[in-house]
């Protein structure tokens, strides 16, 4: 074969290769040199991220400095949607589902009909079990913010996820502080619990001025966790971090802004007294066959709440990380509503303890004075309003003591809890001109009844102080003298909360100042410096002369010394008090009497009161029999006295 001549086609091939390679070089030059800055910036946007660091939530102490709530570390597992490669999403979701024992798709764990209106309100994350996929889809709106899939993940699982991080891109394990309520049910109603922001409040939380709330933050849902959310929360920190493609922090860049820990709370509660009150109430309730009761103790000179017990209670630790369906149903369906704080939410007829309001009003309005004697014949007959001459239509009103008390002064009437004295005082009888409903209601309101006390706990009820208009609007009937009689002894339409009755009692005890009850004594920072000192807050100074209140005090002292409340008498300290047995609609006993709630309010020492308290036992019978001994036991503990 002769020598071949060079092939022109190969030369064309060479030229084409040169052209293609020049094109590559040109485009690379364009990317690297012309647009280099922009790419560098995008690369930095990839690797640097502004993340917020949670501030440790403040802890809570009792007034003696004993720790009631603390933070313990726990693990959360989150996904950064932007870091989850689409082609590996399925694999990652399946692995997480088996590690975290979570469903892939959302599902309901129970019948939709039995769901509460707003599961979030109760921190019921586990109720409606959101699937991993749904959570991630939800999080795509803010793809760089980690979406928390599970709180309180067991340590072994958290470590396993960390180990597999190469196979779980976009999955982040973080530690967070978890609440531990050391005394559980003992303080649940006071402390409350934290949970996810309720759905309908998300906006208001996120839009708070200077707010650093994020969707998955835990906030106080009830108790002081809710009312002192702002103080407890602290301020989140910020830091720039370099992350890898899985969103894992490689290192912190530049100076981090450290989070400011939340402030600590010092409650006004005395843990020992709280325990003693709880035990005393529980034992008496068991003995009386009652399912529900309240004890609240207060410093009558300041309004500080020393103990606040509402039974039955619940364990607020159950709500940490979301309560389970069974636990929640048990609490919700319980007939005596343990989730409710009966001390401020329960509204009951106050019974005879309301007589202290009538006595003060009668004295101040000069309807009576200390010497005025009213005769108690055991029964009085209220003439029919349209046929006053017809005795057969007259309505009988009886004293609890059927034999009658005879003529009584106001001090004795309080001591003996004479019903007829207070009927006459409030509603008038024969030629005796009574206070009348408007005046009685006016004084009731002065004592703080019929409106919330303003205690720093959520969910307080107003109570009810009736008026003539109110009855006409509600029942379409006119107010009659009999209604005034009933109200005079704390029956009929009037409703009060145990806390309101305690506050009224404290006002009597301290000589006429109605304080706002407070449950948080001080707010301190982590170094122990006082951020907000205790300041007593006066709701109003009662426009009642000291000598008139002194007579009410005398009556209450007499009730304990020799009257109906003798079971609260203690050697060594002068106790003053007033019993109440408030009838409520229910099954009548063998003698045809309605069942009664047992009430007792007291304060001591009578001459210079340090402590006032209210004891309420639902369906507990006679206040003097069931409620007064509970108070005696608590007071004995408080004053360190032996019980007889």
């Amino acid at each position: 074969m002769e020598k071949r001549k060079p092939d022109a086609k190969i030369t064309v091939f060479r030229i084409i290769i040169l052209l293609l390679f020049s094109l590559l070089a040109l485009q690379t030059w364009r990317l690297q040199i012309v647009q280099g800055e922009e790419s560098l910036e995008r690369a930095n946007r990839n690797r640097f991220r502004l993340v917020s660091t949670l501030a440790p939530r403040g802890v809570i102490y009792d007034r003696q400095g004993r720790l009631l709530v603390r933070n313990i570390p726990s693990f959360t597992v989150s996904v950064v949607p932007a870091d989850l490669p689409p082609d590996r999403e399925e694999e990652v979701i399946q692995r997480l589902a088996s590690l975290l024992e979570m469903p892939v798709e959302s599902r309901l764990d129970s019948e939709p009909s039995s769901l509460p209106q707003n599961p979030h309100l109760l921190g019921l994350e586990r109720w409606f079990r959101p699937g991993i996929r749904d959570l991630i889809e939800e999080g795509r709106k803010t793809p760089f913010v980690p979406i928390i899939l599970a709180h309180d993940v067991p340590r072994e699982v958290a470590f396993l996820i960390e180990e597999e991080h190469l196979d779980l891109p976009g999955v982040v394990v973080q530690t967070e502080a978890q609440r531990e309520y050391i005394d559980g049910p003992l303080l649940s109603h006071i402390i409350g619990y934290v949970g996810l922001i309720p759905e309908e409040e998300v906006e208001s939380y996120l839009e708070r001025p200077g707010s650093d709330y994020e969707l998955n933050d835990l906030v106080g849902l009830t108790g002081v966790e809710l009312t002192f959310e702002e103080e407890l929360r602290g301020k989140k920190g910020r830091k720039h971090v370099e992350v890898d493609v899985a969103g894992r922090e490689v290192r912190t860049v530049g100076a981090a802004m450290d989070p400011q820990p939340g402030y600590n709370l010092i409650l006004t509660i005395d843990l020992d007294l709280q325990k003693e009150a709880t035990e005393a109430l529980q034992e008496e309730m068991t003995a009386a066959g009652s399912q529900s009761g309240v004890v609240v103790a207060m410093d009558p000179q300041t309004g500080e709440i020393l103990a606040l017990v509402s039974l039955p209670s619940y364990d607020n630790n159950l709500f940490i990380g979301g309560i389970s369906l069974e636990d929640y149903q048990a609490l919700r369906d319980h007939p005596h509503r343990p989730l409710v704080d009966h001390a401020l939410t329960g509204q009951y007829p106050p019974g005879s303890i309301f007589k202290i309001v009538g006595a003060a009003a009668g004295l101040e309005e000069r309807i009576i004075n200390r010497h005025t004697a009213i005769n108690c014949p055991g029964t009085i007959w209220l003439p029919h309003r349209f046929a006053p001459q017809d005795p057969s239509l007259a309505q009988p009103f009886r004293c609890w003591r059927q034999a009658g008390h005879g003529p009584l002064s106001v001090v004795s009437a309080i001591a003996q809890s004479c019903d007829i004295f207070f009927y006459t005082l409030a509603g008038g009888y024969r030629e005796f001109q009574g206070l009348g409903l408007p005046m009685l209601s006016y004084y009731a309101r002065l004592f703080g009844l019929g409106s919330p006390t303003g205690i720093d706990l959520p969910g307080e009820s107003e109570g009810l102080i009736p008026s003539e208009d109110w009855k006409r609007l509600t029942y379409g009937e006119a107010w009659v003298t009999g209604d005034t009689y009933n109200m005079a002894i704390g029956q009929g339409y009037i409703l009060t909360t145990p806390l309101q009755m305690l506050n009224a009692t404290a006002a009597v005890a301290n000589g006429g100042t109605l304080y706002r009850p407070q449950i948080v004594r001080e707010v301190r920072d982590t170094e122990g410096n006082i951020v907000r000192p205790f300041r007593k807050e006066v709701i109003r100074q009662l426009p009642i002369a000291p000598e008139n209140l002194a007579l009410v005090q005398e009556g209450m002292r007499a009730a304990v010394a020799w009257g109906t409340a003798w079971r609260a008498n203690l050697p060594g300290v002068a106790v003053a008090g007033k019993t109440g047995s408030a009838e409520y609609p229910g099954p009548r006993d063998r003698e045809g009497r309605l069942p009664t709630h047992a009430w007792f309010v007291a304060y001591a020492p009578a001459e210079d009161p340090e402590i006032a308290l209210v004891v309420f036992i639902e369906g507990g019978g006679e206040g003097s029999v069931t409620a007064a001994p509970v108070a005696a036991r608590i007071l004995a503990d408080y004053f360190d006295l032996p019980l007889e």
Binding site: I10, L40, E242
Partner: protein
């Protein structure tokens, strides 16, 4: 024999070895340095690539020593073996990234072998037919040789390799003297069939094309890789971020780093200068292979050399073009650089055949 070795192309070998060394270095950075170590040193990407390179060089020398003209008699069994292995793959192949590309034993990819055997078959067919390729029926028959493995590979589905086979055919028939008019007619027919082809394209192929024309579309979905690659290359600048210091590579924002996106790692860490060195080395390899085509003593050898040059040039262009956003992501590897045994060994084997052509380009010296 002594005189024969004087025609062995040391420059071609040297450029190839440098390219492989360059590739292994970047694989080391993209995997080992970025925290993707294996159980042992032997289990790492770069160590395995070294072994593949050594094995490939061994085969290359064997191919150099062997007379490439034996292949003229071997082409039929070789072609049948290729088709059978492609069929077998479709039935039992292991699935990876949604496609079947490997056969069980030693994770061998028959589609890589298919490139070489299509080159040899076409070279044999075209050199046998000579000028008759200027006739349209002959051209069509040559197309069938390429089309059968193309369809089988497309079904895996591996659009990139199927396309390479098509380009091999195109370049080789043109080199053999096919009429441009005929090619134009075929191209026109192909163009008319485009809507039909679109219908038969796999979803992920379509997505890749859509993303190519609209890169901002779905930045975390299919466009993710392309976007991250552009960012990586772009942040390289003149001199790069430094070896082992590219944030896109080291923090794993880039995926499939050692294979399809090794160029981006290079671009990010060694910059424009590093890229120019790569293009220079690839250019040397290509021009030396085309030199072999010029020197070849027969059409068979010339066509083989052209086919090999086509594979290297086209893959390099498509792969780099994909990394810098010139071309849709098609999943082709960068010759001599990307991690992967089948591809590297096949290329080295092909280069051995080219050396064999060179060594024997003067018949007289052997007789």
């Amino acid at each position: 024999m002594r005189r024969a070795t004087q025609h062995f192309d040391l420059l071609l070998l040297g450029a190839t070895v440098l390219l492989m060394f360059y590739g292994i270095t970047m694989i080391y950075s993209a995997t080992y340095l970025s925290g993707e170590g294996g159980q042992s040193l032997w289990d790492t990407f770069f160590a395995r690539q070294i072994i593949y390179a050594l094995a490939g060089l061994g085969l290359m020398f064997l191919a150099t020593i062997a007379d490439y003209r034996y292949l003229e008699n071997l082409y039929h069994p070789l072609y049948i073996l290729t088709i059978l292995s492609l069929l077998l793959l479709l039935v039992v192949g292991s699935v990876s990234f949604g496609a079947q590309r490997w056969l069980g034993f030693g994770r061998f990819q028959p589609s890589e072998l298919a490139k070489l055997s299509v080159i040899i078959c076409l070279a044999k067919y075209l050199s046998d037919r000579g000028p008759s390729i200027k006739r349209f029926p002959q051209l069509l028959i040559s197309l069938i040789y390429a089309a059968i493995p193309m369809v089988l590979i497309y079904l895996q589905p591996d659009l990139g390799t199927a396309l390479i086979l098509g380009v091999i055919w195109l370049v080789m028939v043109l080199m053999a003297g096919a009429r441009l008019r005929h090619i134009a007619i075929l191209a026109l027919l192909g163009l008319l069939a485009t809507p039909l082809i679109w219908l038969f394209l796999e979803d992920h192929m379509r997505e890749r094309i859509i993303v190519f024309f609209n890169p901002e579309y779905d930045p975390l979905g299919v466009g993710y890789n392309i976007n991250q690659a552009r960012i990586a290359v772009g942040s390289g600048g003149w001199w790069g971020q430094g070896f082992g210091s590219g944030s896109q590579s080291q923090l794993h924002f880039l995926r499939v780093r050692p294979t399809d996106y090794i160029f981006s790692v290079l671009g990010e860490e060694l910059g424009f200068v590093g890229v120019l060195i790569l293009l220079l080395l690839l250019g040397i390899v290509l021009f030396r292979i085309l030199r072999a085509a010029d020197l070849a003593s027969d059409d068979f050898g010339k066509l083989i050399a052209c086919g090999v040059a086509t594979v290297i040039a086209f893959q390099a262009f498509v792969n780099i073009g994909m990394n810098i956003g010139l071309i849709p992501a098609a999943g082709t590897s960068l010759p001599f650089m990307s991690y992967g045994g089948s591809g590297l060994i096949t290329l080295l084997l092909a280069e051995g055949v080219v050396q064999s052509i060179l060594v024997r380009h003067r018949k007289l010296e052997f007789q």
